[in-house]
Symmetry: C2
DNA sequence: CTGTTAGCGCCTTCAA
DNA sequence: TTGAAGGCGCTAACAG
């Protein structure tokens, strides 16, 4: 199959017996042009169904008005929300968006960056993959002076703007909530320990404990690799403990969901035996039984803000100096922590 | 902020004292070239960190190796899966992807098409918005000979290839299942009646009834506008019926989920009082209480297949004659229809 | 084996 | 008020 022919300025020019530059001027409503000529050209363009070739335009002005986006996973509801916010805001500002997913692989992340750069996107928005443990590709972007921002999964040492959630605050809120409903032994189930959010949420967890005068207990911090098997293994491990926790805060909702299902299958009552909370506010968490207490992160807002700031920088409205934008999270208390005493 | 400069062939040429065409040839590994020259050029290109400008390349060869995708909603898990499949398969075949969402609006759908066409995508994959009730924009694409395929939300009269699920079959499966577990009065909750899937799933529903010798009963077909309010209104309506159904098949999972939640809040036991089933197999449906019987649609596979076929057509491997690819669905029986007698 | 030339579609001086 | 010329970065036919 071959693509049909697109009308070009040249053809309009020939048809009307004028030069291509006149067409160009007429179509961008240049004032220095006879109104009558302009009218005729605009009319003819419409009649011939002329559509400007963005490729040629971009090549000429060396700007594509396109942003590149890299996320770990499109199928994650959270990242889908971010993308949605990015797109909407980009469109508002007259930009298009090219989206790639890294599938949580460093290698793909690097390949995606390369593709997007080759496609001459004006700037990038990146959320790092779980595998990303070195950052040369990002420093290279920086050195090549290709504007970009990091969002959600960020790396602190890269000198670009970052948009994140107040992870410490969110984890603090939820831990505090567990303590307030009466939990005495609150556990934190963390993801891989080198992940940014693992660290930040642990920080919030410890902060709440400290505030309530509860001593840190290493046996009350478990680590999962975030796979289903890993999550369920941790859930089972907890059941085997001599002294079980009476409240558990999972770093992310999917872990909490799998723990909850496993425990229910073992006859554990939630929240009576163990209260359980997550973080992210996935759609699933609201409908599971019992509904899961969690912390909501406005992904759509995050996407919008990231684009706004990035374009402000591009347009010179905002300074090029990197800033850190921190979005607040909201505790969503549900039945999984509603201990009636 | 201004974007940093990108190295061009011209610069490599000047540095090495050869012509630009020689550079071009070396970089695409042309055989008619002195190996030594080639070596030097490739080396220098790497040293200068040369990256080809896809824009210029595309303009020259008038092919972008980019596909445009339009979906109603990225945040829907099903469409996210499709996108994921589209991207993966496109990458395998050396294509990039630009994604747009219509947010279920016809106007945005039209605007998206325009943008993607202006960006010179080689072809499009489109899933129609709910609002789309006329099809001039698609016929225009067709007339302009821009290759495209429709997937999931299709319109039958457009002479292009379509990828769909066997909706009739899926609805038949799930209705039959309800009848087999002992339901006597099976209801179908439909979406807006002009939607393709509303019609097709009704067809499957009726087919199963007929096969079981059950007469069609108009009072056992309800229509929702698919909003939360609409869904809950229908749920409540059913409770008010003198003769309630004992089994209900909802056109899509989200409807079933909202019905289920409303009924539970009213003290209805599922499946004992009324058995309930959906269609789509959203992640939510597996964790709700009771887990929802539904029909799974492999979105990722759909995306992959749509791209494969489209690119086969583009590459002349497949005929340009439109075909219809129909994917089979799978019944996922869960507790919401597990009536123990 | 390599350079010259021409042009993809568009925009923008510079002249007229 | 309009046209001619040059060039964005790259490829490809045509000469040598």
């Amino acid at each position: 199959m071959k693509k049909g022919h697109q009308v070009t300025m040249k053809e309009i020019a020939k048809k009307l017996g004028v030069s291509v530059s006149t067409i160009s001027r007429a179509l961008k409503d240049s004032p220095e042009l006879h109104p009558e000529t302009k009218r005729k050209i605009v009319e003819m363009a419409k009649e011939m169904n002329y559509q400007p070739n963005l490729l040629a335009q971009s090549l000429r002005i060396s700007r594509t008005k396109t942003l590149g986006v890299i996320v770990p996973e499109i199928t994650s509801h959270f990242f889908a929300s971010c993308i949605s916010g990015i797109q909407d805001q980009a469109n508002v500002r007259g930009y298009n968006v090219m989206i790639c997913q890294s599938n949580e692989h460093l290698e793909l992340e690097i390949a995606n960056i390369k593709t997007l750069v080759a496609s001459q996107v004006d700037a990038l928005l990146i959320s790092l993959s779980r595998e990303t443990n070195h950052y040369e590709h990002l420093f290279e972007l920086y050195n090549r002076e290709i504007p970009f921002v990091l969002f959600d999964r960020v790396q602190e040492d890269i000198p670009v703007s970052k948009v994140t959630f107040n992870d410490v605050g969110g984890a603090y809120q939820v831990t505090k909530h567990l303590l307030e409903v009466g939990c005495k032994r609150v556990m934190y189930i963390s993801g891989p320990e080198d992940l940014y959010i693992s660290k930040k949420r642990k920080e919030g967890y410890l902060k709440a404990l400290a505030e309530f005068g509860v001593a840190e207990d290493p046996s009350l911090i478990k680590v999962t690799d975030l796979t289903s098997e890993g999550n369920i293994a941790v859930a089972e491990e907890i059941l085997q403990m001599k002294e079980r926790p009476d409240g558990v805060f999972c770093m992310i909702d999917p872990v909490a969901v799998e723990v909850l299902i496993h425990w229910k299958s073992q006859g554990i009552k939630i929240p009576q035996d163990i209260a359980l909370a997550g973080f992210t506010n996935n759609p699933t968490s609201a409908v599971i039984e019992p509904p899961l207490t969690t912390v909501s992160q406005p992904g759509y807002e995050m996407g919008k803000l990231a684009v706004s700031h990035l374009l402000d920088q591009l347009d010179g409205i905002a300074s090029d100096d990197p800033i850190s934008i921190v979005l607040e999270t909201t505790l969503i208390p549900r039945q999984s922590t509603q201990i009636s005493k």
